[in-house]
Amino acid sequence: MVDAVLLVLREVLEAALIVSLLLALTYKLQLHYRWSIIALVCGFLGSIFLAYYTSAIADAADGRGQELLNVVLYLVVVVCVLWVGFLITSVFVSCIKNKKNNERLIATEKNNPYLLIMLCSVIVSFSLAREGSEIWIYFSSFTIQSQSFYSALIGAAIGIGIGMSLGGITYYLLIFMKEKYFTPGFLVVVTLLSGGLSLQIAKQFMQIGLLDSDGPIWDSSFLVNEKSWVGELLYALFGYDAQPNSVQAYFYLAATLPMLINFLWHWRSLRETSNAKKN
């Protein structure tokens, strides 16, 4: 049962944190939460689809199908996460320039709130499909109505409960945050999240031999061990790796650099506006 708790918790945690982050965002922007229900249903169905066709996917592309599909899924999520980051950055900066509240701006600006909802839906459904499929595969190894199956089922329920609880705590922590702290914090998390997901893309390419992995650049396991609870939490949210190699570092930079450039560009724009007003 403990094995089932840990396995399911690891898979659920990442999806739960992403869902809570995006739900908090849409709450702050006063957008309806309906999108999350549709996204969760799509993710659930997607996970069953991926689990059902696992063998065929794994055998595709000369045995590289699973990794290549993971690359596509991660890449789509990274692009959507960055897009959300760009949208929210421009909304945030616009708020500062016009000194309006964040909540109403996106509904009245030219920025289409439906684009944001669509991006959030894609992020949630793809993440859930990817993580959830492993849970279905795990359960396929049990004989239904056996003692071990029921034990694993209870373990999975506990794991899902813990994961959802952590997601719930994260959600409420975020929605009670003031806007002036929430938005910058959200953008930092989004940047780190996109970096973490890009590490997974690098891992897939190294696993199928398309890229060579070399020695680690550093070893931070003395600070936070990957196998510890904190390490698992950081892995779920930011893709924490105690011993990253140079390939992963390049991918991380490639994913986070667009957001950093975006921040700098907007910061510079704000400074120019501020200087213009003083003059």
Partner: protein
């Protein structure tokens, strides 16, 4: 554009296959939720191809934090995982679906 994309994919696979043609191959078997052999010795600073054969009827997930590798292998199937080049040392791996029994070690030696 579509043709170019397909050509790029095929070219990368061909290039990858040629580049990986002379890589040492090691095999590990999953049987009764155990790895056979449980200790694999590989040379240092050398990229290797690890073929994992799951002879059980149930799926298993080959995973290693140290190696940064994670792959689900369905029952009766096999998978290829590229590892390294690695510095000398011990790199444990385990079966995530049966972590208590399915444990192994890759020992990298000079």
């Amino acid at each position: 554009m579509n043709c170019m994309f397909k050509l790029a994919i095929i070219t990368s696979f061909v290039f990858c296959s040629l580049a990986n043609a002379d890589i040492p191959i090691f095999t590990v078997e999953i049987r009764d939720h155990l790895f056979y052999p449980s200790l694999i010795k590989i040379p240092a600073d050398t990229k290797i191809k690890l073929i994992v054969i799951n002879t059980d009827s149930s799926p298993e997930e080959f995973e290693s934090y140290e190696l940064n590798r994670e792959k689900v292998i369905m029952g009766g199937a096999k998978a290829t995982i590229f590892i390294g080049p690695l510095a000398p040392g011990d790199y444990p791996f385990f079966g995530e679906f049966n972590p208590k029994t399915a444990q192994g070690l890759i020992r990298v030696e000079q």
